[in-house]
Structure formats: structure tokens, C-alpha cells
């Protein structure tokens, strides 16, 4: 992984093919009121080691797109590969960790056993499970909370536990669906900073769904602006910010310039119509 990062070219693109390659993808849901076009003509490439945000108003299909990558939805038209194989194969190889809007911890398992859940399903031996639980809880600063049950933790801590659970699978790709959407601003800022540090440390590829402009600009190396009805990609913005950032960067003209372009993109996509 370190070698791949070192070999990254000037655009920050890693060696090898793209982690995610989507071409001409559309998805139509059949509902009782007739077909609804959730995604239309999506083309997207995500290179290794990138932090890509999907931003757009609700109903623009950003979550649906993430679910297609995760093989939780099947596209109607078009092609998609994850790590060079179909999403289903990638899922079966446990190529990604998925973090949901809600922590989705099992209430009857304590934190350590929640993190152990995917490891049990993978059939890992006990020693290896224990090693991964310890190291990943440490990574999200939850050491000492192993025996606590989810209800004993704050919302932010629960979401961190769910990140540790996703990391424990040791995937190269993290799919995050508005993971901090339900948290307050202060906790959210804090977790954003921690997430960036984690990303730098682990060198993973991240696809991050959000509807917050500052969050997208602060975290991403690439911002994909989407527009609704039907869901399509309106603009793809390469971040000019350095990979290492702290929260103060949000005051810089550079940051505001990117944020402005994202806002323009959202407005042009008629996102503010209703």
C-alpha cells in the first residue's frame, strides 16, 4: 500500500487500474406509481487512495449509487467494476467496508463483540479476531470500551465503533453513507478530523456520501456533485487542497473557492428548486 501511494502521480492517482469504474450506469426502481429513474448515465472512476465525496440534495441518488457499488442494489443498465471485478464478486471477497447512516450496532452485543461480528462470519481464529478488535478499537480511540454495550455510548462513539467494525475486515475500500449526518456540529468536526487522520494512516480508498458542503470540501480529494430527478453527476471537482489538513483550512480562500464551486454546481443542478 505504501508503495502504491508513493507511486501516485501528480493527480494523486495510484498505480494499477481504478478501484471503482462505472460506465453509463442507470438504475430504475419499479414502484407502484410506475418506474422511477434513480440514477441516469453515471460515469465515474475512483483511483486507489482517493477520498471521493458524493454530494447532492436528498433524492439525487447518492446513497443509491453507493449501494450499487456495494452490491446492495443492481443497476438496470451500464457496467460497473470494483477492484476490476463485478460488485457481487467484490462483496463476496469482502473488498469493502460499508458504514451506514446509523451505527447499526447489534444491541445485544458489546462493543468488542460488535467489532467481532464480521470476523466471526469470515471464520477467523480467535487470536486473530482479538488482535483485530484491539487494534481497530485503538484506531478509533475506543480502547477501554470493549465491554460496554451500544446504549451506554454516545452517538459519536457508536458511529466510531461502527467504523472500527468496518475497518476490522481490513478492506482496501471504505463506503460511507452520511456516517456523521445524525451527529451535532462539534462532534462531527472532531470525527471528520479523526477520519482524515485515519485515512492518511491506513491509505484506504474512501467513497463518502454527504449533503454538507464544508464536510465534502474538507475531507475529499475529489468531490462529485450530483443533481436529482433523475440522479446524475453534474460536476467533478478535484481538490487543490493538500492531503494533510486540519480544521483551520476551512478559513482559507482556497477552501472557500472550492466550496463556492460546489455550491454553484448544486444550484445549477436545480437542487434548490424545491
Amino acid at each position: 500500500m505504501a508503495v502504491a501511494a508513493a507511486a501516485a502521480d501528480e493527480h494523486g492517482r495510484g498505480a494499477g487500474g481504478p478501484v471503482i469504474d462505472i460506465r453509463g450506469l442507470s438504475l430504475t426502481f419499479m414502484t407502484r406509481d410506475g418506474p422511477v429513474e434513480a440514477l441516469s448515465g453515471i460515469n465515474l472512476e475512483v483511483a486507489r487512495g482517493e477520498f471521493v465525496s458524493l454530494i447532492g440534495p436528498s433524492g439525487c441518488g447518492k446513497t443509491t449509487l453507493l449501494r450499487v457499488i456495494a452490491d446492495l442494489e443492481k443497476p438496470s443498465v451500464g457496467s460497473i467494476t470494483v477492484n476490476g471485478v463485478s460488485p457481487q464478486e467484490a462483496r463476496e471477497k469482502r473488498a469493502y467496508g460499508y458504514i451506514f447512516q446509523a451505527p447499526a450496532l447489534y444491541p445485544w452485543r458489546n462493543i468488542a463483540r460488535n467489532v467481532a461480528l464480521p470476523l466471526e462470519i469470515m471464520g477467523l481464529p480467535k487470536e486473530e479476531r482479538r488482535r483485530r478488535i484491539t487494534s481497530n478499537l485503538d484506531l478509533v480511540n475506543l480502547t477501554g470500551f470493549e465491554r460496554k454495550f451500544p446504549w451506554q455510548l454516545s452517538g459519536g462513539m457508536q458511529q466510531r465503533a461502527s467504523i472500527a467494525r468496518a475497518l476490522a475486515v481490513e478492506p482496501g475500500l471504505l463506503l460511507m453513507d452520511e456516517p456523521f449526518g445524525a451527529l451535532d456540529e462539534i462532534v462531527r468536526d472532531h470525527l471528520n478530523e479523526q477520519l482524515l487522520a485515519l485515512w492518511a494512516k491506513t491509505n484506504k480508498t474512501v467513497v463518502f456520501v454527504t449533503h454538507s458542503i464544508p464536510e465534502a470540501v474538507f475531507l475529499s480529494t475529489e468531490i462529485v456533485v450530483m443533481s436529482p430527478r433523475p440522479g446524475r453527476i453534474h460536476d467533478v471537482i478535484r481538490s487543490t487542497l493538500p492531503r494533510e489538513r486540519n480544521l483551520d483550512i476551512r478559513e482559507t480562500p482556497e477552501f472557500l473557492k472550492i466550496a463556492h464551486r460546489v455550491r454553484d454546481g448544486l444550484r445549477a443542478g436545480h437542487s434548490y428548486d424545491d
Partner: protein, 308 residues
């Protein structure tokens, strides 16, 4: 400061008399006393006719206090007074050997054993059926209507047939009776577990899909633990139903032992004390059984880390 605090807490904290009057013990006792009072009054009215006839026959004219006392001490009353039922229970438990056919303990054990066996089979059957219904789509549509309609048949009508059919294939004794308990107890477990096994949220199911978990793993890691609260609720209903099933199974089948047989025998010979004693034994047993299920539930829930 200390003085002020203690004065404050004294003012806040109700006195011992007030706390005692507000306690659960008092609340329950009051209800019991009211029921006993109604029972005694009822016994006077229900037994009054027979008492008047007996007094006429004997040519005595009692005072009303003597009359009331007499209605509470008839040998074959229409409604025995509570102390008569208590005497009967004392006689058939403490004064009778537990191995005797007249012992209430022995007869309760006969009913209890078939209740427990029927409940165990019924719970296993209910869990099995619910698992099938949840996992096989066609069974959901084909099996569920039959499961529901099975409970519309009066158990009193079908019980003798079950006994006769099973006797014809050589099954007698405990099992046929237990199967009537099964018939009543599998239903709440099936319905509760179908709901319980379907209770996991979509997000929890999606999570396991991202791990490409097998159906067996989804069952063991998610559906089963999520369904446990539903299982215990249905088991409480099921064990009471199993007890009813065992007693009903003893009624039309000429059983010689069990609480049902005591009820039947009591009604043949007008031994109302015996019937009431059997009824009290049955309700005490139901209370204990439901209590045991509740205790098991609390232990399991605590093990599953629920907030206390």
C-alpha cells in the same frame, strides 16, 4: 447546613405508615381481601336454599348468625367457602401421602408432566414452523393459513379424537395428553417467532449482506437473537395454554389421574371442595410456570446487555 438538609429530607420522605400503605404488599392484600369477602358473601347466597331445606327437614330454626355459619360448613356446598377449600387443599397435600391417588400433589404432578412435555414439543414445533415460514416464501402463503385455522377448532372437540387415533396406533399414556398441550402451545410460539425472526431492521440485514454472510449465519447472528424477546412473550402464553391443554385432555378421556380427573371426579360426586382445590392448584401451577419463564427471560435479557 447539615441540619437544614436533614430537615428537608425529613419533610420529603413519607413516614413509615404512608410508605407501608403505598406498598405493593398492601395493594395485593386489599385485592385478595375483597375477593375473599365477595366469595364468603356469595357462598351464603348460593348455599342458602340447600341450607333452608336441610333446616326444614331437621325442624330447626337457626338465628341468622347460625344460618350463615351453616352455609359455610356444608359437606357438599354449591360454592364452598374459602376456608373449606383451604382445608381440602391441606388434607390432600399435607395429610395425604404424595404417592396416593388422592393426593393433590400427585395429581398436580401428573398434569404438570404432560404440560411440560407438551410445552417443550410445542415450543420446538413453533420455532421450527416459524423458521420455515420466514425462510421459505411459498410456505408463508401455504402454511400460515392452516396454522391459524388450526386454532379455530375447539380443543374439547378434537381432544378425544386425538386420544382415540393415537391409541389406535399404540400410543397411550403421557404422550397423547401432551400432544393436546402441544396443539394449544405451538400456535403462540409460531406466531410470535414469525414476527420475531422478521424483526431485524433492514440496515442490520444489509450489514450482514455486505459481509456476504450465509443464510445460516444471518439466522444465528441476527434473526435468532433479535427474536428472543418475542420468544419469551409467546412462551408465557404457550405455557399457560399447555396447562389448559393438559387439563382439557384429561376431561373427556376418562383419565384416572391429573387435575382434570380431579375436576371430573368432583363434578360426578358433587365434591365442590375437590374441584375448587384442583382449580386453585392449577392456577398456582400456572403462576409458578409463568414465573419461571419470566425468570429465564430476565436472565437471558441480562446476558444480552439490556439496560437494567
Amino acid at each position: 447546613m447539615t441540619v437544614a438538609t436533614s430537615a428537608y429530607s425529613d419533610a420529603r420522605r413519607p413516614g413509615i405508615v404512608v410508605r407501608f400503605l403505598a406498598s405493593k404488599f398492601v395493594a395485593v392484600s386489599v385485592v385478595v381481601l375483597v375477593i375473599l369477602a365477595i366469595w364468603y358473601v356469595g357462598a351464603v347466597f348460593l348455599n342458602a336454599n340447600a341450607q333452608r331445606l336441610a333446616d326444614q327437614r331437621d325442624g330447626v330454626t337457626p338465628t341468622w348468625i347460625e344460618f350463615v355459619e351453616a352455609t359455610w360448613s356444608q359437606s357438599k356446598p354449591r360454592l364452598p367457602a374459602p376456608h373449606q377449600v383451604a382445608e381440602e387443599i391441606y388434607r390432600t397435600t399435607v395429610l395425604t401421602k404424595p404417592t396416593s391417588a388422592n393426593s393433590l400433589i400427585y395429581n398436580s404432578w401428573v398434569t404438570l408432566s404432560s404440560t411440560l412435555l407438551g410445552f417443550a414439543i410445542g415450543t420446538a414445533l413453533g420455532i421450527g414452523l416459524a423458521t420455515l415460514v420466514v425462510h421459505v416464501r411459498s410456505l408463508d402463503r401455504s402454511l400460515m393459513p392452516w396454522i391459524v385455522s388450526s386454532q379455530t377448532i375447539p380443543i374439547l372437540a378434537i381432544a378425544p379424537m386425538i386420544i382415540v387415533v393415537l391409541a389406535a396406533i399404540g400410543l397411550t399414556g403421557l404422550l397423547p395428553k401432551a400432544l393436546i398441550s402441544t396443539y394449544l402451545s405451538f400456535f403462540p410460539v409460531t406466531v410470535g417467532m414469525v414476527k420475531g425472526l422478521r424483526s431485524p431492521e433492514p440496515i442490520h440485514l444489509d450489514l450482514l449482506r455486505t459481509y456476504s454472510a450465509s443464510r445460516g449465519q444471518v439466522f444465528l447472528k441476527l434473526r435468532w437473537p433479535a427474536s428472543l424477546p418475542f420468544l419469551f412473550v409467546s412462551m408465557k402464553v404457550a405455557i399457560a395454554a399447555a396447562l389448559v391443554g393438559a387439563i382439557v385432555g384429561e376431561l373427556p378421556t376418562g383419565a384416572v389421574a391429573g387435575l382434570g380427573a380431579r375436576l371430573l371426579g368432583g363434578s360426578y360426586y358433587g365434591l365442590t371442595q375437590q374441584m375448587w382445590a384442583a382449580l386453585v392448584a392449577a392456577s398456582v401451577m400456572a403462576g409458578i410456570l409463568i414465573g419461571i419463564v419470566g425468570l429465564a427471560e430476565r436472565l437471558v435479557v441480562r446476558g444480552m446487555g439490556a439496560p437494567r
